[in-house]
Amino acid sequence: MEPFDHASALEGCARGDSASLRRLYDREAGFLLAVALRIVRRREVAADILHDSFLDIWERAGTFDGRRGAGRAWITSIVRYRALKYIRAAGRETDLEVGAEIADDAPDPFAALATAQDGARLHGCLQRLDADRRQVILLAYLDGLSQSEIAERLGTPLGTVKAWVRRSLIALKDCLS
């Protein structure tokens, strides 16, 4: 992918330049929709989250602290927190809707990270964790599963999952710093 200066696009939004928002949209809408869709699993809900997130981005761009490279994380966070709030409030649907599934043959997030742009460091640090602890982090981050959902998914006691999260975060912080 061509490099893209998210920070300057956000600065443009802060100045009230709607063309900057459009550039961000053209560049990231597909990715951000994928982020929301993975968490909420329903296409129309994900589309609403994308919509509201772009209004948020426009309105809050002035609060973005323009450190290089952080712009994409900032807009992704806006979408993720919205999606997480939705799923916690609505409760997760066990039946996935048609057209909003995660395929059984979906790529393994950890494997994909090895070749991802800027992914080497996180991949290396996650590699140091046991496979099940690594999975806890990725299920939470990507799928928006709660700790009890993760416990259920992995057949592990909730207390164990909580302890894994804590220890994994401490190890990751140390490794990623």
Partner: protein, 255 residues
């Protein structure tokens, strides 16, 4: 309670970013993010370092009509009118606008400004080309507002003469940028919403028709928003509020 030990703070920040906290703790974290820069920094660390894990998601197909809906909503929605914090709770948009127009904080700020206005008017008469033909009927000191909705002191002075001439004087450095303009609005009627008084010409004046002038009252809200060069295309503010404040009846003497 946000913990004080660095390790505990990192864990809590990480759990927040992963979405593992319950609603009450999430709300507590979001409050802390506003005031605790160190904690906000730790949250940003996780947001940035975990982002590459999203690479597996690729890109979903966006409905081609989605942008048009966003654009339409941007046009009808005002910039965040209250202090915005991450993440923004969903609120009915029209109610947000009304809430801001009725905000007690704004009333307090603008009441306090009456004093500031008196001082400014004593200090600044040389900078205001007084309407020789007509005494001042109202003035309004508008507070500068940044993109986050934070006010940072008096930024604009509006003067309404008896004959309906509206003059304005920037007290802060403002550059709308190319293709943008500043548009002045006032609220005549809560139900109707803000009404345009026109795009502010550089250093120029706007003339109000008498019937509009009659409708101006003490405490009436004025605001200046950032708009396209020709002004808002939809007759309502589309850009963010740059300056906002209330009218104050002038003393009977001319400036």
């Amino acid at each position: 309670m946000i913990p004080s030990q660095p390790e505990d703070r990192d864990v809590l920040a990480g759990e927040y970013v992963l979405g593992l906290l319950d609603a009450a703790t999430t709300a507590e974290v979001e409050r802390a993010l506003k005031s605790d820069a160190d904690f906000a920094h730790r949250v940003a660390f996780w947001e940035e370092r975990l982002l590459p894990a999203s690479a597996v998601l690729g890109s979903a197909e966006v409905d081609p009509t989605q942008w048009a809906r966003i654009e339409q909503d941007l046009a009808t929605r005002r910039q965040a009118l209250t202090r915005v914090t991450a993440p923004v709770p969903l609120r009915p948009r029209r109610a947000m606008v009304r809430a801001a127009w009725r905000s007690a904080g704004l009333w307090r700020a603008t009441t306090a400004l009456a004093t500031a206005a008196a001082i400014l008017l004593a200090v600044l008469p040389s900078r205001l080309s007084a309407p020789a033909e007509s005494p001042t009927r109202f003035f309004a000191i508008l507070q500068s507002r940044d993109a986050a909705g934070q006010e940072s002191g008096p930024g604009w002075l509006i003067q309404v003469a008896q004959n309906g001439t509206v003059r304005s004087l920037p007290l802060a450095d403002v550059r709308p940028g190319s293709g943008r303009s500043l548009q002045l609005w006032t609220l005549w009627d809560q139900a109707r919403g803000p009404v345009s008084l026109g795009v502010l010409p550089p250093g120029g004046a706007i003339r109000l028709p008498p019937e509009r002038l009659e409708a101006i009252g003490d405490g009436q809200l004025f605001e200046i928003t950032l708009e396209p060069e020709a002004g808002s295309p939809i007759g309502r503010p589309t850009g963010r509020i740059l300056f906002i404040g209330r009218a104050k009846g002038a003393a009977t003497q001319a400036l």
